[in-house]
């Protein structure tokens, strides 16, 4: 049976792993390659490396870091941050990334998704969406690491992106990110039920039960978290044993 995936996310700045609370106040959580290998050994199903400063500072994700990860990690990994062209993606895949994630650049120029899917296949194109629940009760797309608001509804953009060739959606709720109060079950469930591709839930995972909730109640295909893994508040083997005991399919 296809299992639910647990995905530690390593936010990268200047080649180091960091994790912010609500996208600010960064703390250093160590060497990304070392951390990635540790997570793989502990039973993580995939890894995501996001160069979180890339868009704002117009930097490209370091290809050399990708190569080091690819050499040392024996599970799939996705690389994102500041990707805006077929050539950016080609470089990352050539250096050993399995998938790439696009966010702001794909929103600004949606044709990018189709170009990437045609060139490399939908299976390696992850669309990342940062979304916020507004006072009108709807979820909207935010760009540039959550700094720029748009008037586009999250669900509309997700559907358009999938129709253009995105193979997975990485959905981060800005209302929940960094709070450790649980994932955004409503928007995750909406996308998960209505999209034909897997949805990775991100933002808010703080306890073992939160992961069970996002799989059982929201139907997420995968759940992503960062700081709780980095600071050893939740251990991956313990999380998997907990989910298994609740009959949620996980790789043991």
């Amino acid at each position: 049976m296809l299992t639910k995936r647990i995905i530690p996310c390593l936010d990268i700045k200047d080649g180091r792993t960091v994790k912010g609370t609500n996208f600010v106040d960064l703390r250093d959580a160590g060497d990304p390659v070392e951390l990635g290998a540790r997570y793989a050994a502990e039973g993580a199903d995939e890894l995501v490396f996001l160069d979180i400063t890339a868009t704002n500072e117009k930097r490209k994700t370091l290809a050399s870091l990708v190569t080091r990860v690819a050499h040392q990690v024996n599970i799939p990994f996705t690389v994102g941050g500041g990707i805006s062209s077929v050539e950016d993606v080609n470089v990352l895949l050539q250096h050993g990334a399995d998938k790439i994630s696009v966010n702001t650049a794909a929103f600004r120029r949606p044709e990018l998704i189709g170009e990437l899917a045609a060139e490399f296949g939908s299976q390696c194109v992850v669309l990342a969406i940062d979304t916020r629940l507004e006072e009108d009760g709807d979820w909207y797309v935010y760009l540039n690491g959550g700094r720029t608001a748009t008037r586009t509804r999250c669900a509309d953009w997700a559907h358009e992106a999938v129709s253009r060739g995105a193979g997975e959606i990485l959905l981060t709720s800005m209302n929940h990110d960094g709070t450790k109060a649980g994932f955004a079950l409503s928007i995750t469930g909406l996308l998960s039920r209505t999209l034909p591709v897997p949805v990775i839930a991100s933002g808010g995972g703080g306890t073992l039960q939160h992961f069970a909730d996002v799989f059982e109640e929201a139907g997420a295909d995968a759940a992503l978290a960062a700081s709780i893994f980095h600071f050893k508040e939740v251990a991956i083997p313990e999380l998997k044993a907990f989910l298994d005991a609740k009959h949620i399919p996980v790789r043991k």
Partner: protein, 192 residues
């Protein structure tokens, strides 16, 4: 041990090379007919689209070369599918080593299947030391139907061939190079 990884317009070639390095093997990524023919082991990798991949192989006459190889050959993902008779993807005539056809998942489940699924009914030396029901990493929208060459089975709505073997050829639908310890064991078995 001389290992050749066939270079063509497919995506996971570098990952296969790194995976071999992690288990202490070195390999050459090449489309040189002589190097491929003389290698002790040949890996035919692949992430991509069947029709364009077959077209690329034909243009370089690699299709005939692959079919005639005598040493152990391992197809991975698209590589495995291209070793089958025919693929629905682009209605493509393939290499015809494995006596089965490749079909698109017709399911209400999400397609592609992305993630870790268990592999059952394991047979043959490729799976030596790999426990029944081990998890491997899959990313695919098309599958090879069960047939006499099937040496492992997986269920995603329907039951399909997650590994095939015929003579000196074997193939795996999952990404052994990205399947943690189970994948490393399989690769070790292949190069043993």
């Amino acid at each position: 041990m001389d290992i050749a990884i066939i270079k063509y317009n497919a995506g996971n070639i570098q990952s296969v090379l790194y995976a071999l390095e992690r288990i202490g093997a070195t390999a050459q990524v090449t489309d040189d007919a002589e190097l491929i023919r003389s290698a002790d082991r040949v890996i035919f990798p692949g992430v991509g689209e069947a029709a364009s991949a077959m077209q690329y192989l034909k243009e370089r006459k690699l299709d005939l070369l692959i079919r005639e190889l005598k040493q152990p050959v391992l197809g991975i993902c698209l590589g495995m599918q291209l070793l089958c008779r025919h693929s629905e993807e682009g209605d493509t005539a393939c290499l015809g080593v494995f006596d089965t056809t490749v079909k698109r998942f017709n399911t209400t489940l999400k397609v592609p299947q992305i993630g870790w699924n268990n592999v059952e009914a394991l047979r043959g030396p490729l799976f030596e030391g790999v426990a029944e029901n081990s998890y491997f990493y899959f990313v695919h929208s098309y599958y090879a139907a069960l047939c006499a060459d099937t040496i492992a089975e997986t269920t995603y709505d329907i039951r399909f061939s997650s590994a095939l073997s015929h003579g000196n050829f074997s193939g795996v639908q999952f990404h052994a190079e990205k399947s943690a310890a189970a994948g490393e064991q399989l690769l070790k078995n292949f190069i043993r």
